[in-house]
Symmetry: C2
Subunit: 212 residues, 2 copies
DNA sequence: TAGATTGTTAATCGATTAACAATC
DNA sequence: TAGATTGTTAATCGATTAACAATC
């Protein structure tokens, strides 16, 4: 059914927002919604929403709108949220612990199967239902458990060598919280960066330069 | 000196990346760099980099390039990183703790002056050099300490009422980690969202749909 | 001076918005 | 059927890239 041309990043980045809002509507018991209503609630144009959705197929009914439940499922499918990709997390510091708990609870698309750290006062400790493993066991673990995604919550210095090990173990997908741009290193790696510092600096800019 | 037309968000979001990389170069002892060299390292076009920088002024020298040290300072100034905006953080859960430690160490543009939570088993605990305060003391604290930015690390349910209190106390700038879109509520509020779930879902989409 | 690289204008590309025919 | 709202094409807007004159 889906067409999938080459979808632009701008469109892709809006999908989770649509999804979140539709889940919210579903919980509120709303069954039907038009692109115009959606546009008002999300602060977008109705045109853009219809354009976005039609990248993947015609999910609406002319003269009626979209069935919330159905559209929600469709977007969930497009996003691949039921795939439960096996994932590991490297770095059990403050941020790592936060992300780990986050992912274990609302695992949307991913399943956290291992947490690693190099520091002896972290290995062996518990994060929810997981025990933090020693990074020396990474190779053995990956060979048997075959994770496909790695979350990187380690300091900048460590990234380079860890990436090499992970890449060598066949991992090609990364959720990167390190202040380090992996993207360039491997052609076929897929990297989603979360640079908290960049986000904070952007806010700082906007406060400091109240343009408009 | 600076021109500042109305700078587009696309440009603003690239500034921290430039800044990060220039700091890195500075530490490595590099004194001079051309837009072409920069473009190679950052995976952008030289044209875009020059275009971006010239939104703020001509920082380079024709035939020579840019002086790393100077450009770094300029961008730091543009971002307003030395302003040390007084900030508070709401929600001392896993994520809140991570962000709090993060901000205390590398306070780029902001200074964390207070952490709040409503749960009795969190208030009174310590995060680095700060004690977690009871949220009931928010009004008193803000009236005397006058923070200008609030970091929101609380669950979706709590956001609405907290925002109202913070807005009432004169806070207009928010770094929002909640799965909630504040943006719409107050015209003059400045919100920088970090929706980790959205980021993760985007990654999920990209893994599930290996287009190209 | 000759060579290099910027600053800036013009051309291209892509994303958003508007419009409307199709159709439920 | 008439009214509503989609799906889709065309028009507009903005951002990126290319080109080159200015100048160090």
């Amino acid at each position: 059914m889906p067409k999938r041309g080459n979808i632009s990043m701008s469109v892709i980045r809006r999908l989770p927002r649509y999804y979140r809002f539709l889940v919210h509507l579903k919980h509120k018991g709303v069954t039907r919604i038009s692109s115009t209503e959606l546009s008002v609630k999300l602060g977008l144009t109705a045109s853009q929403i219809r354009q976005d959705l039609n990248c993947f197929g015609g999910f609406g009914q002319q003269g009626y709108g979209y069935i919330v439940d159905q559209l929600c499922d469709e977007i969930g499918n497009i996003l691949g949220l039921s795939n439960g990709y096996r994932s590991i997390l490297i770095g059990a510091g403050n941020l790592g612990r936060a992300i780990a708990s986050h992912m274990s609870f609302e695992h949307e698309g991913f399943k956290l199967i291992g947490i690693f750290d190099s520091s002896p006062n972290k290995t062996g400790t518990r994060i929810n239902d997981q025990i933090v493993r020693d990074i020396v066991d990474l190779e053995e673990f990956c060979k048997s458990e075959k994770p496909v995604m790695a979350v990187l919550c380690i300091p900048r210095e460590g990234v380079n060598s860890i990436i090499e090990r992970l890449y060598g173990l066949g991992i090609r997908n990364f959720w990167n919280f390190s202040h380090y741009d992996i993207s360039m290193k491997y052609e076929d790696a897929l990297v989603e960066n979360v640079h908290l510092n960049d986000s904070l600096m952007t806010l700082c800019y906007r406060i400091s330069n109240p343009n408009k």
